[in-house]
């Protein structure tokens, strides 16, 4: 009996809801703006307030709005990478967004699926490897910035133990740890980089806890591949140093942060939107180098010495010249065996599927 009443009540509720929805729909149409603005949407995996990954993308969006006032943007944040993302992307396309940036790896299949239904919408997927005529991928060579930040850490450490709080054992993260370690050991061959996996991109408390554990294990500089400044705060609390990631994290830990490896998406977003508007956009896999300014280092903290800055500047010029890149041999793996021969540059293909650590990393990759 109970359920019968429930049913009646809910049907009533739903029909009211539908009615309301119907009315709302007509209202909206009449108030549509006369000016034709290009609608651009961004889908974020975390909240924009994470001060990390999604925040960096959102800074890029704000830059886009500033440079192109005839662009209207929509954001949807905290979208899980499972079944929800496909719906969110579909609804954005349905609402007339002309360009949709999906900014997390797990949106790859959903982005491709939705793109088939909306051939006139341009989809840009960040950090994946699948393309379609209307889907391009984009990413930056953050490992170059990480190498430079490694130099800063290698110069700063006294215990010769550097902690690295890492999210998931995927190639992108492994590549970053390796580049960072090569940077560290280019100026300090005795230093080691200890890795802790958190198995999460976004968990401020857990990330901080991992940072504290590394400090307990003797580290005096903490680096991270995480979306929040949790590990930076761990270093700040203990009076140690840290290297930020994603955005300039010095505001969150002013006494600890030496520098940060940062993303600078804004100019790239402007280029893409501009190309789409002019009709010159083509699907491609963009992996932007430091030369394009899509990645870089945040301003140094006051404790960084001139000597360190000089060492970083020299390495930076080498990278910018294009003659040399971070993964140029000889590079040994953890067992001491040479994996990249002297003078050989690792191919992009190999870098994209990195699954081994270089010498100097203390940690394991689940196989």
């Amino acid at each position: 009996m109970k359920s019968k009443y429930l049913l009646v009540m809910l049907v009533g509720l739903l029909s009211t809801a539908l009615l309301l929805a119907g009315c709302g729909g007509t209202d909206k149409k009449t108030s549509a703006p006369a000016a034709e603005k290009t609608k651009v949407a961004f889908v974020y995996v975390g909240p924009v307030g994470d001060a990390g990954w999604s925040y960096a993308h959102d800074q890029g969006r704000k830059y886009l709005m500033e440079k192109m006032p005839d662009v209207q943007t929509t954001i949807i944040e905290s979208v899980p990478e499972g079944a929800d993302s496909e719906r969110v992307i579909t609804q954005l396309a349905e609402q007339g967004h002309k360009i949709i940036f999906t900014t997390s790896f797990g949106y790859m299949d959903p982005t491709i699926n939705v793109s088939k239904k909306y051939p006139n919408v341009v989809f840009m997927h960040c950090s994946g490897f699948k393309t379609a005529p209307n889907v391009g991928t984009y990413f930056g060579r953050i490992y170059q910035a990480r190498y430079l930040s490694g130099i800063v850490a290698g110069k700063a450490t006294k215990s010769n133990v550097i902690g690295y709080v890492a999210a998931h054992p995927i190639p992108e993260v492994i590549r970053g740890i390796n580049a960072f370690t090569l940077g560290v050991r280019s100026v300090n061959p005795d230093a080691k980089v200890k890795v802790i996996w958190t198995n999460t991109w976004y968990d401020p408390a857990k990330e901080k806890q991992a940072g504290l554990s590394l400090l307990d294990a003797g580290a005096d500089v903490i680096a991270q591949h995480q979306d929040t400044p949790g590990p930076q705060q761990a270093a700040e609390e203990r009076g140690k140093f840290s290297i930020g990631y994603n955005t300039d994290m010095s505001k969150m830990a002013p006494k600890a942060v030496l520098t940060s490896a940062v993303w600078n998406w804004g100019p790239y977003y402007v280029n893409v939107v501009d190309a789409v508007k002019k009709g010159t956009w083509k699907s491609e896999q963009y992996w932007g180098p430091m030369k394009d300014n899509i990645v870089g280092l945040a301003p140094y903290g006051p404790m960084v010495t001139e000597e360190t800055k000089k060492a970083v500047e020299d390495a930076k010029q080498k990278i910018l010249s294009g003659q040399w890149d971070v993964f140029t041999g000889p590079i040994k793996d953890q067992s001491g065996a040479i994996r990249i021969a002297e003078g050989t540059k690792m191919s992009d293909q190999d870098m994209l599927q990195f699954n081994w650590f270089v010498e100097g990393v203390e940690g394991t990759i689940a196989k």
Binding site: L7, I76, N355
Partner: protein, 359 residues
């Protein structure tokens, strides 16, 4: 106090109807005030929420898609809860069900659909059942608290999925990303037209019918209820409690495991971490709000699906995700909180000078 709570002998039918409606209105009012204060138009936001979830064929179909795993978890949980077995391990059972079902297409990708899909359903249910059976037997034999064991097994189940996806089951062509290979077409559940509504909906509805008969018209359903409300009476009546605890947990876990199977086979098409945004936990609220009644669980899961689908659409108006969750949360808070009015009434005792004042 001039007011006091008085228990109703039977839950009020009028209140059953009126309370959720009033609670919904109150929560919308409450959030409306908040939204107004923060300078947003509440009507516009509510309209976006409702029209996003129910205002178009696509939105409606997605609400149903979202309701399928919620419904299955809610139903699975209700079986155990009927017996006052607090199975809060639906999330882990879902993951293990997904894992077991994934094994088949990865190992025998060439099987035809008519063999593949029924076997995947069986494997999914077996996986979930196994995951629930462990706490079941521990509880039945040694009185180990099933709240703790089912909860802990959630983490273990989820970590097993991570282990396999990061390790042995990783797609060799996937550039070392934590994903299994995509399932062959034969391992994908059939779906309706261009929507994502898959045949899992029919499976779920079949389970609704099955549970309805089981709970209301079967001897075993009656035993569940008796053991739940009075184990001593049940033992006196000669019911086998150990066996029934195990059976209830097996059935409960099997249904939750099926939710995992339909999610990987019907929606995602591969196994990956982050498969479920907490369906197993939301299922607990759904089972509870549905008062463990299969039909009410169907309706509740549809409403929850709508609430979640609509929540994302609110963001297109520039409302942060946190505010969207706040609206969802306060709707739940009011509806659950108001439920007490169906079982109690407030009586006014003030003007006559309540007895308690004199004594």
């Amino acid at each position: 106090m001039p007011f006091s709570w008085e228990k109703r002998l039977t839950p009020s039918k009028f209140m059953l109807l009126a309370v959720p409606c009033i609670a919904l209105l109150l929560s919308l009012l409450f959030c409306g005030v908040f939204l107004l204060i923060t300078g947003r138009d509440p009507v516009e936001i509510y309209v976006a929420m409702i029209s996003g979830a129910l205002g178009s064929t696509y939105g409606l179909s997605e609400t149903i898609v979202k309701a399928i795993p919620l419904m299955l978890c809610g139903l699975g949980i209700s079986v155990a809860f009927r017996m006052q077995l607090w199975n809060i391990g639906a999330e882990g059972q879902l993951y293990v069900g997904a894992l077991a079902a994934t094994w088949l297409p990865l190992t025998f990708p060439a099987l035809p659909a008519w063999v593949m899909l029924p076997l995947m359903v069986c494997l999914g249910m077996a996986g979930g059942a196994l995951w629930a059976f462990v706490p079941g037997i521990l509880r039945a034999r040694w009185q180990v608290n099933e709240i703790i064991t089912t909860l802990m097994l959630n983490y273990i189940g989820i970590l097993w999925v991570s282990y396999l996806v990061y390790g042995p089951w990783r797609d060799p062509k996937g550039l070392n990303f934590p994903l299994t290979a995509q399932f062959p077409d034969a391992a994908i559940l059939p779906f309706w037209g261009t929507s994502r509504i898959h045949i899992g909906l029919l499976l779920a509805l079949a389970i609704v019918a099955f549970l309805y008969v089981l709970f209301n018209n079967s001897r075993w359903g009656y035993e569940l209820k008796v053991i739940g409300s009075s184990p001593k009476a049940a033992r006196y009546a000669g019911m086998n409690i150990t066996r029934n605890i195990c059976l209830a947990m097996l059935l409960s876990g099997a249904i939750c495991g099926l939710a995992g199977m339909t999610e990987v086979s019907g929606i995602i098409g591969r196994l990956q971490p982050g498969l479920s945004p907490g369906y197993g936990y939301t299922g607990i609220i759904i089972a509870w709000l549905g008062q463990l009644n299969p039909l009410a669980i169907v309706i509740m899961s549809f409403l929850f699906g709508a609430l979640q689908v609509g929540g994302y659409m609110v963001q297109t108006l520039g409302v942060p995700a946190a505010v969207a969750s706040m609206i969802q949360g306060s709707i739940l808070f009011f509806v659950i909180g108001a439920e007490i009015l169906t079982r109690y009434r407030i009586s006014y005792t003030g003007c006559k000078g309540g007895r308690s004042d004199r004594e």
